[in-house]
């Protein structure tokens, strides 16, 4: 217990409070109310950054819901070894989270070396790398990278949730005349609802924090991608390039609130987490 408490306070609670403090004060430490929030909101990059992040998050969420649930359902009811193999294959890219994944996808998006160059050509109309990462494609590309690294983990989670459904229940449904599709829609899906909700809220909160992917792609983009593409990047630039810590804190607080609301929602409403016996 003892060594944990200071960590919790110093790196869990204190940063949030300090960021709040910065967000409501000016350089001299004077109270400025919502001035920093208004100021950053009116920054010409603010809205586009949040719009980018929002589009990205929606695309990602959509892909997660449809494909994760679909694949988990498809896997459930397969022979054990087949399903285990697929789960492992899906899960593998999870080892390449962070910058490694982005690098891999830079290659995948470069038509000159990509094994999927025909897809790049036909779907994105891209024959050179710069066309692949055209601004309009970015939210989809980032969503795909995030899906590629993270979906496997969620599939395992959903599959686990499906496995808690008693076998009897499924057999009873079959005797009652339900086919596999009816069973999936009427029986399995409702029982997965909690987990889906959890995935959506958590992913929404995570999605809005996007930083690594645009930051790395920006480096390799011949200047096509602005360095303030996402909200977190904007906050970072405010802090680092302009030393505007109060403005950075204001955006950080915006983002933290999104995360916090999501977290509180999950903890108090989902019933997935124990807080007492």
């Amino acid at each position: 217990m003892l060594p944990y408490l200071p960590l919790l306070i110093v790196f869990g609670v204190a940063p949030s409070i300090y960021a709040l403090d910065l967000a409501f004060t000016n350089v001299g430490g004077g109270w400025v109310g919502f001035h920093n929030f208004v100021r950053t909101y009116n920054d010409f990059r603010f809205l586009s950054a949040f719009r980018h992040v929002l589009v990205y998050t929606c695309v990602w969420l959509g892909a997660l819901i449809v494909f994760v649930v679909g694949l988990a359902l498809l896997l459930h009811g397969r022979a054990n070894r087949v399903s285990a193999t697929f789960r492992f294959l899906f899960y593998m890219p999870g080892a390449l989270a962070g910058s490694a994944a982005v690098l891999v996808w830079l290659f995948m998006l470069d038509p000159s070396v990509s094994p999927g160059s025909f897809l790049l050509h036909h779907v994105l109309g891209a024959d050179i790398f710069a066309q692949s990462i055209a601004p309009g494609n970015l939210p989809f590309i980032f969503a795909m990278i995030a899906f590629w690294t993270g979906a496997g983990g969620w599939i395992v989670v959903m599959y686990g949730a499906l496995n808690t459904i008693p076998h009897d229940l499924e057999e009873a449904a079959r005797i009652d005349g339900a086919g596999p599709i009816t069973i999936a829609l009427r029986l399995k899906l409702p029982l997965m609802r909690k987990w889906i909700a959890y995935m959506v809220i958590l992913s929404f909160a995570t999605g809005t924090q996007l930083f690594v992917e645009p930051q790395i792609v920006q480096t390799a983009s011949f200047g096509l991608v602005p360095d303030t593409w996402s909200a977190n990047q904007l906050a970072y630039q405010l802090a680092f390039r302009y030393a505007d810590f109060n403005g950075a804190a204001a955006i950080a607080v915006d983002l933290l609130m999104i995360g916090l609301v999501g977290a509180v929602l999950i903890v108090t409403r989902s019933g997935l987490f124990r807080t007492d016996d």
């Binding site: 944990y4 694949l71 080892a95 958590l202 909160a205 390799a220 970072y236």
Partner: protein
Amino acid sequence: MRLRVVGLGVRLTVLAMFAVFFIAPVVWLVLAPTKSDKALITSSPFSFGDFHHVALAWKHLDAFSSHIFRRWIGNTLFYAVSATAITLVAGVPAGYGLAIGRFPGRKLVLSLTLVVMIVPGAALVLPIFLELNAVHLIGSSLSVILPFAFFPFGVYLAYLYYATALPPSLLDAARVDGCGELQTFLRVALPLAKPIVALVFFFSFVADWNNFFLPYVVLADSNQYPITVGLWDLLSSTPSFNPAVGGGGQSVKIFKPELALATLIAVVPVAIVFLFSQRALVRGLVGGAVKE
């Protein structure tokens, strides 16, 4: 009957298509360093070159900025291992205490832990940066290790294990058998939690190894970079994606095969931990000890 065969075919095809999506980039990455920069473009994406090119790519990579790649790997290991060690030493007893202890503030600590656990890590990076900046810790390795070491998910995992899977009678038995509270934890609760320790180790190590944002923000000297940030540094030095690099990149000799090799090396430890930990998780240690 025919309908069922068709259904099975459709299911397997869909699964196989996704398997290709998930695994093809990995296969490509493994094969890429075996080819020259030119062969990457001309030969088939999934062809195997030869090991000579791997050695060559490593030579170029290692030579980059006077062996800095080795430093990055070393830094990452150092950050991830020491942070994970602190996580385990601090987190597992904390989870135990939260699960079986009865003390004021327990519920508050637990709720805070849960909330911080679910708040995305990236949301706290800038606040942590601002805080560390205020106390002038920016640029030290502690500014990476200590935030890494705070891993509420590990605490929650330990808490959940001790609150649900550990039969209270085992702790009672230990006390009756003569253990004090510390001995009860060390001799009974801790050995039983081996799967959880492995799990916490796994998640913490992987999270620390892969983290980009925090070290990117709090470290300034490229000698201190972990490999994730190092990859970014490499990327910004390669003419393959960055024509602005002077001299056509001939001086640094970092091209696509080198970059692919660097990426591969960067993920190998995580992949190993991935495979290694999976086996530890399967062993249900408590099974059979206490009849329900």
